[in-house]
Point group: C2
Chain length 244, copies 2
Amino acid sequence: MSKGGESTFIVRSSEIDFRGQVTLPVLVSYLQEAAWDNTTTLGISMYDLLEKGLTWVLSRLRIEMFRYPKHRDQVMVETWASGREKVFLHRDFRIYNAERELLGQATSVWLVMDVVKRQLTSVPDFITAVEIATGYEPLPFAKGKLPALAEAAFEQHVQVKWHDIDLNRHVNNTHYLRWALEALPIEVLEQQQLREADIIFRSESTLGDTIVSLAAPTEPGLYLHKLADEATGKELVQAQTKWK
Amino acid sequence: MSKGGESTFIVRSSEIDFRGQVTLPVLVSYLQEAAWDNTTTLGISMYDLLEKGLTWVLSRLRIEMFRYPKHRDQVMVETWASGREKVFLHRDFRIYNAERELLGQATSVWLVMDVVKRQLTSVPDFITAVEIATGYEPLPFAKGKLPALAEAAFEQHVQVKWHDIDLNRHVNNTHYLRWALEALPIEVLEQQQLREADIIFRSESTLGDTIVSLAAPTEPGLYLHKLADEATGKELVQAQTKWK
């Protein structure tokens, strides 16, 4: 039985919006870091994988927020390996405040990639040896396809810049969510609360790429998003966001 | 005598470049947060000022880095009110690692602004009542003008987006530094180490503004930067960066 972990963050002034609430891309960076902390404890962090010519690839993330923490609030992110289905490794998250109230929760799906071949690989033994954590109330997996975006109502073009690039020389996942959200009209971002984001990561992008961020409403409070490479048209990210 | 303060940060995977080093805009966000923590203790935080219809305005920041912390490193930022010259309030910073080695240092100059009139005001009594911290080895102030950028060698246009905006509905200062650096050629960013940045903040910008980021080398390893509003030509930020 593996163990879950918990990481603590304090919301910074550079991480909040005009309402004083931490933004969702920042919360996703907290989840990423909590996952890194827990996998370090388990000996299966990205650094452990890189030593073996492998790396983690985030395939899907669904996050629901019930309440947003504010500047200077303490945020606890609990995370654990929650399941495995063939090559898909599941990791769940619960987000608490200092009073141990549940602020949000998330599920995620990860794959293992061969760094040299740049292709997905079967899950190696040293990862399957780390059993799934028990004793955690399970969250429902994000399953099924997201509907395809038929016609874009909103469009933004974004150039990948130096500070968007991470250790692997690829765009850090948190930026895709930021660019997806920023394609929406200001009125949505200003007047509504983002309650849920379901994000499927399909392909990578790197420095100098130009990305088209498309979005369209499908029903009240529901938006579909698509990020694609401007030059090749290749789909990078598909997402759905729910607002209240 | 007022007291200095110290705040601790742990470098996240979303805060590093491809070398694994924390980026300078992220370090500046650590300094901002450490200043917020210390001014909160002193009863003169931005929230304390806003209650009186006032706010802090960062006028100049000069930061020198001797060594960059890496992912998962603990970073301690020590900060104290270091001096006062008429309406200019000085605040210094020293940046340490867990072994208490000095990684970098910074000086900054702050002004007080009347939020309603949107103009600078004399330093109110409740701020001057907080005496300058003693017992700290002083850092040399950033003084004098920066040379004007005569002719731009590099130019980028950036649109201010939702996630760049902070509590005051203005661009958070850390983003100006990011945009200044991103105007430089990739070779500089990839192959050289940023050793020093001296940034003068002249004017604010807000959502929807387009900003022109200009830069030019003046001597080997030295660049001048200018950020201006594309529509009005108004200068927002002037900066100088040193590289090794």
